[in-house]
């Protein structure tokens, strides 16, 4: 499951529950128990969606194009997903992404591109309480995702419009979801997150290991080469606090390290990409959460990429 867009939200949603008015009415011991539930939202069914808008300036694996750009406000990413609890600590679900972007052409005009990312099916084991083992309150979860290889270049090979559109979607999120935006691969991702709740804030550390099994060499860009399996580990460190029961503040950073790209230029270095992701959260009752976040590339190959997203998550 995609950490940035869903697990974090899941965790923060539960953090809302912990600090919401309902929790405040309960005895302290019960409220602390809710902190453990931070990775385990109460609703048996939940759904989420987000709309991200931004500007992208990122490398692209083609000898002639070299980079992919989208103007301010015209790089857009719609994400949505749903999860169902099938056992007390097990959720299964699916999520999908649709990118629609103005893709800059070499001379400065734009093409309107739109493309589906790979829909992901996931299972998540949550609520593994590790507190007794380390002597401090610590929770964690594990997730396994597999993608439906939908993302592909559907237009003429020379245009690379779908591929470039997907690359824009991936860069918007700082390359932390390569399993979604990489075309012509079967994506399999193993993820894990640790939560460290404290009195006034919660620390969160996530790691994802996506394997991208290349399915075909169709429509690869001119001048690019391939590897059979792509491997782009990525992680996130985040701290969240709730000064009021309805308002949360969160600061995070993601790092993606493209150790092996399924399609790449042999001359291109595999540099890591870091993003800063401050976020404001609004709790709407105990069953809905809205957030506004900003993601800014902290230098790196995609320097100049920045976006803002409006997200909502609801228990059903």
């Amino acid at each position: 499951m995609s950490r940035v867009a869903s697990k974090v939200l899941t965790a923060v949603l539960a953090a809302v529950v912990r600090t919401s008015g309902a929790a405040a009415e309960e005895p302290p011991q019960e409220a602390e128990r809710r902190a453990t539930d931070a990775i385990e939202p109460s609703a048996d069914l939940s759904a989420w969606t987000s709309l991200r808008i931004g500007v992208v300036d990122a490398p692209y694996p083609s000898a002639t194009l070299g980079e992919v750009r989208s103007e301010a406000g015209q790089a857009r990413l719609l994400r949505f997903g749903a999860a169902a609890r099938v056992a007390p600590k097990v959720q299964v679900g699916a999520h999908a992404a649709y990118v629609f972007a103005g893709v800059e052409q070499p001379a400065g005009s734009y093409r309107a591109g739109s493309a589906w990312g790979n829909p992901m099916l996931f299972a998540m084991l949550s609520g593994a309480d590790l507190s007794e083992r380390i002597g401090s309150k610590l929770d964690g979860d594990l997730s396994l995702s597999i993608g439906v290889p939908v993302a592909a270049e559907r237009g003429p090979r020379y245009e690379q419009l779908d591929r470039r559109t997907l690359a824009i979607g991936g860069a918007l999120e700082g390359w932390v979801n390569p399993e979604i935006y990489t075309p012509n691969v079967l994506p399999i991702a193993l993820g894990g997150t640790l939560f460290l709740p404290r009195d006034y804030f919660q620390l969160e550390l996530g790691l994802e290991l996506p394997l991208l099994v290349r399915l075909s060499e169709d429509t690869i860009p001119n001048g690019a080469s391939t590897s059979a399996i792509g491997f782009i580990p990525n992680g996130e460190l985040r701290v969240t606090t709730w000064p009021w029961h309805w308002l949360g503040l969160s600061l995070g950073s993601t790092v993606a390290w493209p150790i092996a790209q399924p399609v790449y230029l042999s001359s291109r270095r595999t540099a890591a990409q870091a993003m800063l992701t401050p976020r404001v959260l609004f709790a709407l009752g105990g069953e809905a959460l809205m957030s506004l976040d900003v993601a800014v590339a902290a230098g790196g190959p995609a320097s100049g990429t920045a976006s803002a997203a409006l997200s909502a998550r609801m228990g059903l």
Binding site: L51, T64, Q105, P106, Y110, R111, A112, L310
Partner: protein
């Protein structure tokens, strides 16, 4: 009651997201977007420049029979690239010149424009008339190889081609400029070939007329009116702005693709050359984007002097200011009577 409130909140959230989406989709239809070229045209085009009929011998750069050089009187700024141009007209055919501002070319016409960065060959662009319709043109760039022995079709274009600062336009981008006139061809026109720029062995209006290649010979060449300063400015604006900013654009079927949709007109029509004041530039730009006597307060000069996304003129395939062009326009605006 609480359940109702929660439901309303959820509904509101969803509506807000849908509205955002709709607004953004609307915003997508902008001035800078162009439609794709039919893939069948690209697929049918030669992969190599050597197969397009430009040279009979690539090694010695010997022009193929019927291919002739020409040079327009006023050139589009291309970041200082050195440009050469050639035309091929199919034997026995004439150019339909009933509309002297928008010639219609016979099927089989080819025009090439070669771009060099210093002495290095970077790209050669091809325009080829494929059918009888006004828009039946192949637009394709060929990127030269490292050995400088041939160039290869690059329909996707290229950024910083061959390590230079020149960008090769994608095939779909050509229409951004060429689509602004019914003729589609911009630099090979009655006005541009009347300026004596082609040289001794090049094609000009007089040679076309003498060879009987014009359906309706104009019986004259066309001079731009005014002082040297005015002629330079009017010619510069014609070549760099007029293909988009003119009132005789063909009707649009798809994206706006650099259709400015305003009243500015910098095109020099051969019927309106009696005086500078008669030209569309004087009638539409003065007191709008040109403040007589005040170059620094003229929006036109601000845009020509700027580079940056959405804030430059002309808007495509240039990242450097044309200092000579800025001087020409500054001198002209300064000399205009306030």
């Amino acid at each position: 009651m609480r359940r109702m409130t929660t439901l309303k909140a959820k509904k509101g959230l969803l509506e807000a997201l849908v509205l955002c989406l709709a607004a953004l989709s609307q915003a997508c239809e902008t001035f800078h977007y162009c439609d794709p070229v039919p893939a069948s045209r690209i697929d049918a085009a030669p992969d190599r420049l050597s197969d397009t009929g430009l040279f009979s011998d690539m090694g010695t750069r010997t022009l193929a029979p019927g291919v002739r050089p020409f040079r327009p009187g006023f050139e589009l700024w291309s970041d200082g690239a050195n440009k050469q141009r050639w035309v091929y007209l199919p034997p026995g055919e004439t150019i339909d010149t009933r509309n002297m501002d928008d010639w219609q070319f016979p099927v089989g016409t080819k025009l090439w424009k070669e771009f060099r960065h210093g002495e290095e060959l970077v790209e050669t662009r091809l325009l080829q008339k494929l059918g009888p319709g006004e828009r039946d043109w192949l637009t394709l760039s060929y990127l030269w190889n490292d050995e400088q022995s041939d160039a290869y079709a690059t329909p996707e274009g290229a950024v910083d081609a061959r390590g230079t600062e020149l960008d090769v336009p994608a095939a779909s981008e050509c229409v951004a400029c060429h689509g602004g006139r019914r003729a589609f061809v911009l630099g090979f026109s009655a006005l541009q070939l009347s300026q004596g720029a082609s040289g001794g062995d090049g094609v000009d209006l007089a040679s076309l007329e003498a060879e009987g290649l014009l359906s309706n010979p104009p019986q004259q060449t066309f001079s731009i009116p005014g002082t040297q300063t005015e002629r330079s400015a009017l010619g510069y604006l014609h070549a760099n702005c007029g293909h988009c900013h003119n009132r005789n654009r063909p009707s649009r079927a798809g994206s706006r693709c650099f259709d400015p949709e305003n009243d500015l007109d910098f095109w020099l029509s051969v019927d309106l050359l009696d005086s500078p004041e008669q030209t569309p530039t004087y009638r539409t730009a003065i007191d709008e984007v040109v403040k007589p006597g005040e170059p620094r307060d003229s929006r036109l000069l601000e845009l020509v002097s700027s580079r940056g996304i959405f804030r430059q003129m002309h808007p495509l395939a240039t990242e450097r200011v044309d200092e000579r062009g800025v001087r020409i326009l500054s001198d002209w605006i300064r000399e205009l009577a306030p």
